[in-house]
């Protein structure tokens, strides 16, 4: 136990130190040497893998960093749960770093350094968030993420002040207020906010308090992802990915999973489904249908990615509600699967998004398969990943969902799930039909150059393949991901 303590502390400290070195390397522009950010990231992922094998199931190591009292303290802890997430985030950061480094170098040379720097900042924060041992410190990280996002937008658009910054900052403010009240409410109810033990406390509460807790945590965590998506705030796709997905959605998902695991317990989630709450179910179905119809009719016009993300996010929340009954692992699988899939979706769709901004009409999408076959195949694969048809990590969670329906049929959620999957399949079919139609078009040289870059640049191709393989690897080694 003592030996393990030293070892794991050292390994974790190494991961953090490598992140900090990466930041300095990125700042000093010397990242083309032998020791560069990529080699360090590889080492980092390897260390997190080693860390995974030094921790036994059920073992928990805690370190005090800044202690004031029982409630307000800054402790970190490492156990099987956190190490799984550390592995995931570090592997993802390596792959995404390879992709975005090349992408930024090719297409956004002006903001190359700045964007890369903030990219590393966000992943460092995610690493810290994973190991935070209570809600106060997690809120600290989320607010720092918010400030960094605003700093990123300010740094990027320094010459003009986009209105987006104002809107985003107001949303951030509400997020902070929700989380702050959640903290106070938890402290008031239980005099505790740490992710210490598998708490059973929430299950003893009355329904109204459970509702309040759920609403506060849900809106506090996901308001920043949902509001920009619903209002279709127009950001560049790379900004959207970095600000909304990496800095906020990943952090929210990690924290939400932790809250469900360590504070809320499962008994309170089913209140929405247990009584066959018609309102909630109809709301979810209508939500899914509206987004789906928007998806089908948009035909790659614009905001396709936003719609897809929103669609999958609503499905994720539904799955959270359905999977409450099964064991802890399936909820963990759901979060991990979503994190991998949303990143794979983003980086496989980026080429099309870039082409779309160059092309004026959507007819030019026709026959695109013959121009850039690799990108098309990768996109289709990642879309299939999403509904768990591929032997991917999402398959596990989807399998669990259908297993639950086989045992105990609840009509409305079942309809929602089926509708989601069918619509996704239709979307894929439509997409395939469009890109496989042979047309003779004179494409401009610019577009051909652009597509060739995506087809031939090794970094861009391999990193996209790597994300899909990552999902499959997690699927194969799913036996190890148990708590």
């Amino acid at each position: 136990m003592i030996n393990n303590f030293d070892e794991s502390a050292l390994l974790f400290a190494l991961i953090m130190i490598i992140h900090v070195i990466n930041i300095f390397l990125c700042k000093s522009r010397y990242h083309y040497n032998f020791i560069n950010i990529f080699s360090l990231s590889v080492i980092q992922s390897l260390i997190s893998l080693v860390l995974f094998f030094t921790i036994d199931a059920g073992q928990k190591l805690t370190w005090n960093i800044f202690y004031i009292n029982e409630i307000l303290n800054l402790n970190v802890f490492i156990n099987k749960f956190t190490v799984i997430f550390l592995n995931l985030i570090n592997l993802l950061s390596l792959i995404l770093l390879i992709f975005f480094e090349k992408y930024l170098y090719l297409f956004e040379k002006n903001n190359y350094q700045k964007t890369l720097l903030f990219f590393i900042y966000f992943f460092l924060n995610l690493n810290i968030l994973i190991v935070c041992s209570n809600l106060v410190s997690s809120i600290l990280i989320i607010v720092i993420n918010a400030l960094l996002s605003i700093g990123y937008l300010n740094a990027k658009y320094h010459d003009h002040k986009p209105k987006i910054i104002n809107t985003l900052s107001i949303i951030y403010f509400f997020q902070y207020i929700f989380l702050f009240i959640l903290l106070i409410y938890l402290v008031e109810l239980f005099n505790d906010n740490s992710f210490d033990n598998n708490n059973i406390m929430v299950s003893n509460l009355d329904i109204s308090s459970q509702y309040i807790l759920y609403v506060l945590s849900f809106f506090g965590l996901f308001i920043f992802t949902l509001v920009p998506f619903y209002y279709f705030i127009n950001l560049k796709i790379i900004d959207e990915f970095i600000i909304i997905i990496i800095s906020q959605l990943f952090a929210s998902l990690i924290l939400f999973t932790k809250l469900i695991f360590y504070i809320f317990n499962f008994n309170f989630l089913p209140i929405f489904l247990k009584n066959d709450n018609l309102f909630i179910n109809i709301f979810i179905i209508i939500n899914l249908l509206v987004i789906a119809s928007a998806l089908v009719y948009s035909k790659f016009k614009d905001n396709i990615l936003t719609l897809l993300s929103l669609f999958s996010l609503s499905y994720l929340f539904l799955s959270y509600l359905i999977l409450y009954k099964s064991n802890n692992n399936s909820l963990l699988f759901l979060s991990i699967g979503f994190i991998i899939n949303i990143s794979s979706l983003f980086i496989t769709i980026i080429p099309f998004n870039l082409l779309q901004s160059k092309m004026n009409n959507q007819i030019s999408f026709r026959g695109l398969f013959f121009l850039m076959p690799k990108s098309c195949i990768l996109l289709i694969l990642s879309l299939l990943n999403f509904i768990g048809i591929m032997p991917s990590f999402n398959m596990v969670a989807n399998f669990q969902i259908f297993k639950i329906f086989a045992n105990n049929m609840i009509i409305t959620p079942f309809i929602s799930v089926v509708v989601f999957n069918i619509i996704f399949l239709i979307f894929i079919a439509v997409f395939l039909k469009i890109i496989l139609t042979r047309v003779s078009l004179d494409r401009s040289q610019e577009i051909i150059n652009l597509s060739e870059k995506f087809e031939n640049q090794q970094n861009l191709v391999y990193s996209r393949i790597a994300v899909i393989i990552l999902s499959i690897i997690f699927f194969i080694f799913r036996k190890f991901i148990t708590l």
Partner: protein
């Protein structure tokens, strides 16, 4: 021996600034005067710090010279309340008067410079005496000395606007003096004592029928304190003034005088309500909440629209005042802890914001943050400090503002008007948040080329002071944050002091 040393250090705290103010007349050299000033200020800070541990442990340190029967003697007492305010005010004095040294001193003749240092030291003497005395007649005299020193600082400015305001303030202050005198005489007639502790002891002498006496006393003291120590409306127009002395006056009024006012209000509340159940009888929380709603909603709306950093800093301190009123209305341990943190936060971050505003005004002729581009004008370290400082303004978790908000929110859980207070808190925090983001944006603004040329011509003046003030302040904030356990204990004692 220990007891004698402890009580005599209280006398040192009072006599030291008095003697050093006389010493200022020995030499006309600027350096010598500044040295005397800074030495006496730092020495008194060290003495207070050395006394603080004993005070926190024993509760209070009192001189026990029972010289005369009617107790007009010099009676002093250092308890947790006065210790806390002494620490905060001495720190503020140290920070703000460094302003004088670097900002104003060069433009003043040697003779008036000598006099100003003497007056500043006398001012510290008066403040120390007000905070340490335990006798209402002594208090009366020291308040008057304080007002005279303040008016002397105003008169040094040679600015007609400041002098006009000072004259108005003098009139208000005279009225409040009369009210003080009246109420003190009534207190003496009622209780037969002038010592605060003995007033509390004799409280049972008042019969139920004579409670209206208390009302009279409380009302006149309330009015007197407001007139004397919160004359914000008189000086509000001078905030944007270019005169350097007016900045000194503004910091005195908005950061020091109001603190003394809060101290006196707390002291009177403690001496009248402390050991008695009058809190239950005179439930004044609705009135306080109403006043704070007016202050907070007005200033918050102003802050969101406001562009001038000077006004923003002052409005922030007004918001803090409103929040302090709320904490007084709630009256439980958590709310008093929140009061403690609000005052520290006001002394640490709002005052630095004001100093920053002064320097921006000096260098860019305006303190509007929309028109300022100092991303290339300030050094890397100052910009780093600013970034850290912004996190304190916003109230990130584990900063002082966060603790204040945390305890205030915890305290209202069982309170009747919690929705109102939560809304007020959300409004104030939005103002803080917005301000922090505006400051954040200033750091990333890039100058246009035409502007850049004109800015290159003007040197960034007084950089040293800005750095010094920032550096001192950040050291203090980090010291506080890393010794937050001590601060927590102190705040617990502070809260218990009222609720025993």
């Amino acid at each position: 021996m220990l007891k004698l040393a402890t009580t005599s250090s209280i006398y040192v705290l009072i006599i030291l600034p008095l003697i050093s103010s006389l010493l200022c007349f020995v030499s006309r050299q600027r350096g010598v005067n500044y040295f005397i000033y800074i030495a006496s200020a730092i020495l008194s800070l060290i003495i207070i710090l050395s006394l603080s541990l004993k005070t926190v442990v024993f509760g209070k340190i009192v001189n026990d010279f029972e010289i005369s029967a009617i107790s007009i003697a010099q009676e002093f007492q250092l308890d947790i309340l006065s210790l806390f305010f002494l620490l905060v005010i001495t720190y503020i004095k140290l920070i703000t008067n460094s302003l004088y040294r670097f900002n104003i001193e060069s433009s003043v003749s040697e003779e008036s410079n000598q006099k100003t240092y003497a007056v500043l030291l006398l001012n510290i003497f008066a403040i120390n005496s007000i905070l340490l005395t335990n006798n209402i007649f002594n208090l009366f005299i020291f308040c008057e000395i304080y007002i005279f020193t303040f008016l002397a600082i105003c008169s040094a400015s040679n600015d007609s606007k400041v002098l006009k305001s000072a004259f108005t303030y003098f009139c208000f202050s005279s009225a409040s003096t009369l009210l003080f005198l009246l109420s003190f005489i009534v207190i003496y007639l009622c209780f037969g004592e002038t010592n605060f502790n003995k007033i509390v002891d004799n409280f049972a002498l008042i019969s139920e029928e004579n409670y209206w006496y208390l009302f009279l006393i409380l009302f006149s003291i309330f009015l007197a304190i407001i007139l004397k120590f919160f004359p914000f409306w008189v000086f509000y127009d001078n905030i944007k003034s270019k005169n350097s002395f007016s900045d000194l006056v503004i910091t005195e009024i908005f950061f020091v005088t109001c603190l003394i006012g809060i101290y006196l209000a707390l002291k009177f509340i403690k001496s009248f309500f402390g050991n008695n159940l009058l809190f239950v009888k005179f439930n004044y929380d609705l009135l306080l909440i109403f006043i704070s709603i007016i202050i907070i909603s007005y200033t918050s709306i102003k802050i969101v629209k406001e562009k001038h950093l000077k006004l923003i800093a002052i409005d922030l301190s007004l918001i803090t005042l409103g929040l302090i009123l709320i904490t007084l209305a709630i009256q439980n341990t958590n709310s008093l802890k929140a009061l403690f943190y609000f005052i520290i936060n006001n002394a640490c971050s709002n005052i630095i914001l004001f100093i920053l505003a002064i320097y921006i005004k000096k260098n860019y002729k305006t303190s509007s943050i929309e028109q300022v581009n100092f991303s290339y004008k300030i050094t890397y370290f100052v910009s780093l400090f600013l970034k850290i400082f912004i996190s304190f303004v916003i109230g990130l978790p584990f900063t002082l503002l966060f603790f204040a908000n945390y305890y205030l929110t915890l305290s209202i859980m069982d309170y009747n008007y919690k929705i109102v207070i939560i809304v007020l808190l959300a409004i104030t925090n939005f103002a803080y948040f917005k301000l922090g983001l505006n400051l954040f944006r200033v750091l990333y603004l890039r100058e246009d080329h035409d502007q850049q040329n004109s800015f290159n011509l003007c040197k960034f003046n007084n950089k040293k002071t800005l750095q010094l003030a920032f550096f001192l302040n950040l050291i203090l904030i980090f010291l506080l944050m890393f010794n937050i356990n001590f601060l927590e204990k102190f705040s617990n004692k502070f809260a218990q002091y009222f609720l025993l």
